[in-house]
Subunit: 457 residues, 2 copies
């Protein structure tokens, strides 16, 4: 419980309507898309940088933990207030401050929803490339905190590649601003990249300048179907190895395809052992040529069917299938562990085979979903944490999946972040001197360790 | 002068052949492409990470400054040992350790020359996109230290967008490794971006993993000629504002065109007030379509001629003209100040007009070269520092150029870095709390301030 004096000061800053400490509010801000929970002592909804600064001054003076939160869709526990304290929820600090397509940037507050920005940009023929599956509800602030990816990041890059400038409130309450509206900017340390993916452990982002791009003039989208998962994975490695870069290349295995079809009745091929959803975008003529090469490679690698979306409705159906996959798997059982170990694309076939062997060994249902074109795997384990015996197997399987990724030159997280979920696996991918270096920066910047404590650093 | 005991220890590490402290060596390592100088006490040529680590342990224990150096082509003084001490020259640590085009990465030592990597990649149909004008001699390590750009960064992004992983020796001599071979990687803080552009003030980069891309199947290159510089600049803003992204869009003004023509006799139009060198690359059909739109916009904005390079030789001639421009201007007078203030592209016309007014006001010859498509200006001031009266005017003009860039939402440096050259102008673009934040990180990481001291942080 917050000291009554502290509560009084905080209520003075945000007003009684934007301060919550009733049990329902505390519970509903104690989790995100990961399986763990952490109960805050109060939830505040700031609407300005000045408010955030004043809140931080109080928190820092008293050593109260502060965890920033967007929509709470993160899958690694980054927004879980593991050490209690305050949750700063940015849902009400959600204005688009500027859109300038001539100079290809937009300026937003952290609570702006990704889809909200897309909608405004689309009217002007532009878009913001990072597209996490949660883009309909997740915020740009949360996307920045986790350095979110998404399907089309294969061609376009992830969030960090689009952050031009930030305004950040430090633990001390000081406000700093860096970067600019310019795509090219080497004025001092690249702080925008340092804060991107830092999960709110170094400061609270209060304004974001992002780069935007012109919408491509055309798309072509196909579904390649296989009766063998290895052939599916081989196709991915073959296409990327040939230097072709589709806008997206998504893989779903037999388990995922059937669960999605159960839920959505989209006509996916239930007998398939693997499918690839491949999209190419750009100038019409180039799109046709590239898709021609891709379809050729799909057949050459043993596809049993390659269907093209002939209308925008058909295209949307394929993407709905893909985007719904995580939710469908999450609803299967009380809990859902979504890993996102990533490997070099030539190792995707080995990684998929290995995950299937691990599933068999531990008698678990692990659906495999992947942004396969950049090696970003999403093995999804449906489970029930209350089943202690099964949970032990889930944890052992996760450990083996990460060990496998490490052996295959992979990385712990491609786009979900380390958060609470993967801290214990960090030593598999990063030695102690490097982890200590991160801790040195964290300590210098947040000496009282109040910014989202208990996470990976 | 180094203490004889220190010298003995250093010679033990690198051997007598790779330790130099004769006056000629010290003088030849006391400058880079900027106008200032700083005399080191010794120059060492390490060939391994272990050697760098041992050198740092000695330097850190004794508080001896250490400045890393590639080819010394930097234009902001980043490689100048401003506080004396040791220069670590990476010319001999220059092996390409791995090239893997299937997984689109290469691993190099810092002394590998950009062109050397390009040559190896080209054989496999790939390339490394960052292409500073110095690419024929500058090193990847130097490119990383300055976060180098180049003409085709308009489409492809700058060095930081291609650094996947680094090995770094810290001030303490500890060796850290982070990032991976994976394009998508959010495992901990994005340290690869923090070290990129840090000019060796946070650590010494000893191994670099970079992303590479497939060579485009075709190019088209045109030279658009104008009798009015404003129309030249308007064309740039119009093309980018329409959402078209050429591979490169380079601007040269009347002064630059004539100096380049004097030197190279390439047939450039001497009467032109401005020219644009525009290149498009990609799938042949897309290239043709995009170039069609570009040429249309060039004519619509008042070009008096638009010439296409019809052969690879003609294309090379145009690029030779552009790449030689800086050298030609540098040879004009004893000294050459190359600024690289960058503005949002819609402000390019105002920026060019402003620079011309400043040139007139201070009676200076300022040639304007620009990676115009991303607003990255290169006003080049030829001067003689020994002419004190003129030098005062040069400094005043530089100040005004940066003030103008600040007013136009620009940034201090687009691709050359801040180094020694622009430290004093940093407050125009970054407030004191933000500069103090950079200093906090620097101090935490390098408490004895031995890593390239005297630079922007």
């Amino acid at each position: 419980m917050l000291h009554s004096e502290v509560k009084k000061q905080l209520v003075e800053i945000v007003g009684p309507d934007r301060f919550q400490d009733d049990p329902e509010s505390l519970v509903s801000h104690s989790y995100d898309g990961y399986v763990a929970e952490g109960r805050p002592e109060a939830v505040l909804f700031p609407v300005s940088t000045a408010e955030v600064s004043r809140i931080m001054q109080i928190a820092n003076g008293r050593g109260i933990p502060v965890t920033a939160r967007g929509a709470g869709t993160g899958l690694s526990g980054g927004a879980i207030p593991a050490a209690g304290g305050l949750v700063l929820c940015f849902a009400k600090m959600n204005r688009i401050l500027a859109v300038n397509t001539r100079d290809r940037y937009a300026i937003v507050q952290p609570g702006v929803i990704n889809a909200q920005l897309q909608k405004v940009l689309k009217k002007e023929g532009f878009f913001y490339p990072p597209d996490p599956a949660s883009f309909g509800i997740s915020t740009i602030g949360g996307n920045v905190a986790e350095n979110a990816g998404g399907p089309r990041c294969l061609k376009y890059g992830v969030t960090v590649d689009y952050v031009l400038g930030l305004e950040v409130v430090l633990a001390s309450g000081k406000i700093i601003r860096f970067g600019s509206r310019n795509v090219k900017d080497v004025t001092g340390y690249r702080l925008s990249s340092l804060f991107c993916g830092a999960e709110g452990t170094l400061g609270i982002v209060t304004e974001i300048t992002v780069r935007v791009a012109a919408l491509p003039e055309s798309y072509r989208t196909v579904l390649a179907v296989y009766d063998d998962i290895e052939l599916t994975a081989n196709t991915v490695a073959d296409i990327i190895g040939a230097g072709i870069v589709p806008a997206a290349m998504e893989l779903m295995d037999h388990i995922v395809v059937n669960l999605v079809e159960d839920a959505n009745h989209l006509g996916l091929p239930r007998s398939a052992e693997g499918v690839l959803l491949i999209e190419v975008d750009g100038v019409r003529e180039a799109v046709e040529k590239e898709m021609g090469r891709i379809v050729e490679k799909a057949w050459a690698n043993g596809a049993i069917d390659v269907k093209e979306a002939r209308t925008e409705t058909e295209r949307e159906a394929l993407w709905t299938a893909r985007r719904s996959a995580h939710g469908v798997l999450a609803r299967l059982a009380p809990n859902c562990m979504t890993e996102d170990a990533t490997v070099p694309v030539s190792n995707v076939p080995k990684m998929i085979k290995g995950v299937q062997e691990i599933a068999e060994k531990y008698k678990l249902r692990i659906g495999i979903l992947a942004h396969a074109g950049d090696g970003n795997m999403h093995p999804i384990i449906s489970t029930d944490m209350r089943d202690t015996e099964e949970w032990i197997r889930v944890e052992a399987a996760s450990q083996e999946i990460f060990e496998l990724a490490a052996r295959l030159d992979g990385t712990l997280s491609g786009e979900h972040g380390v958060g609470l979920a993967k801290s214990k696996f960090l030593p598999l991918f990063m030695d102690s001197d490097t982890r200590e270096f991160m801790a040195t920066i964290k300590k210098a910047v947040d000496p009282n360790n109040i910014l989202n404590p208990g996470k990976f650093v």
